[in-house]
């Protein structure tokens, strides 16, 4: 495998650029994206989503406590 092998872009790499990069313009919808703290996103939802949508080339999901498998319906819990 080479490092340039194409695979689906990891969500976290995408968010590094889409939430921290890009031209900042105040639109008519005056939401400051900086206000949206990723930490507030439910961690379980995050993990299940990472597992379901961004299959990691590495074998990690089982080692994460509280990870929800993709087949399990997601539940909303506060962190």
């Amino acid at each position: 495998m080479t490092v340039v092998e194409r695979r689906e872009i990891a969500l976290v790499d995408l968010l590094d650029r889409l939430l921290a990069g890009g031209v900042v313009i105040t639109g008519d919808v005056t939401l400051r994206i900086a206000d949206v703290d990723l930490v507030r996103i439910d961690l379980n939802a995050l993990i299940s989503s990472v597992n379901a949508q961004v299959p990691s080339p590495f074998d990690i999901p089982a080692s994460i406590p509280g990870a929800i498998t993709p087949s399990t319906p997601r539940t909303e819990e506060s962190p």
């Binding site: 976290v12 990069g21 900042v24 313009i25 990723l38 993990i47 990690i60």
Partner: protein, 258 residues
């Protein structure tokens, strides 16, 4: 037209048409909105999802955020094939076409100078991971029973700590060296915050998360250099992503807050 306008990017007029079936966020078709020799790439989005309050709520919903981010990136990717786009931050939304035109009018000068600077450049992402934690590896040997004395125990602890520090220093030295080497090949570079393993789902600890602005013509060379270094450091892993539109190098426009 009753929806709001989601703006993906600003670019020079396209030399080639966009893919006919290109859709953006919310599955809406993407269109070009020309204004004084530049174009905004926009699509219509429903007010019920993209007005301030619903948008704020949606952005904390990871599934929604992921779908929107991927749709946004899909449009930027399509643009990157035919031009050098100036990507806007996720969820830049205007009331209607004329509000978009007003914005373009106000920012025209900056759009032009930034487009000029980025023309023919792409962004590459390079991350370095520390794959193993030696302290954990040695700690895996059963600590019980073997520690014949307190002195033995302390010596073992000290060795573990030292091994750990050595690896960290090696990782840091490697990352610093790689960053210097790549910065020399690139026109510009940015350091992003290291990613947490929980967010990325990647194995190991992220010690370098950098972006490099590289002319297309020099990209092959850049990729080769990254590719070559990945075997240089046992216990470390180098990952390359890209080419991206120059998200990390468009910066802030004057008068806009972060």
């Amino acid at each position: 037209m009753t929806g709001l306008r989601y703006v993906y990017a600003v670019c020079r007029p396209l030399g080639a048409p966009l893919q006919a079936q290109l859709t953006g966020v919310a599955g809406a078709p993407v269109k070009q909105l020309p204004h004084q020799g530049l174009i905004a790439v926009v699509s219509e989005v429903p007010e019920r999802d993209f007005a301030e309050e619903p948008l704020r709520a949606h952005l904390e919903d990871l599934d929604w955020l992921a779908a929107t981010a991927r749709a946004h990136q899909g449009v930027i990717d399509a643009l990157t094939v035919v031009t050098t786009p100036l990507p806007l931050r996720l969820a830049t939304v205007f009331r209607d076409d004329s509000a978009v035109r007003c914005m373009m009018q106000a920012k025209e000068e900056h759009f032009r100078s930034t487009l000029q600077r980025l023309e023919g450049r792409v962004e590459w992402g390079v991350k370095v991971y520390l794959e193993t934690e030696p302290a954990e590896a040695t700690a895996a040997a059963p600590p019980t029973g073997k520690a014949a004395s307190g002195r033995d125990y302390l010596r073992r602890r000290r060795q573990q700590t030292r091994a750990h520090e050595d690896l960290w220093q090696r990782a840091e030295a490697f990352a610093t060296q790689l960053h210097e080497k790549l910065s020399a090949l690139a026109e510009d570079s940015r350091l992003h915050a290291p990613q947490t393993a929980v967010l990325s789902g990647a194995a190991g600890r992220n010690v370098l998360n950098a972006a490099y602005l590289v002319p297309r013509a020099r990209s092959e060379e850049f990729v080769e250099v990254v590719d070559r270094t990945k075997d240089d450091a046992p216990g470390l892993r180098v990952e390359l992503t890209g080419p991206w539109a120059a998200y990390s190098f468009v910066g802030e426009l004057p008068g806009e807050e972060a």
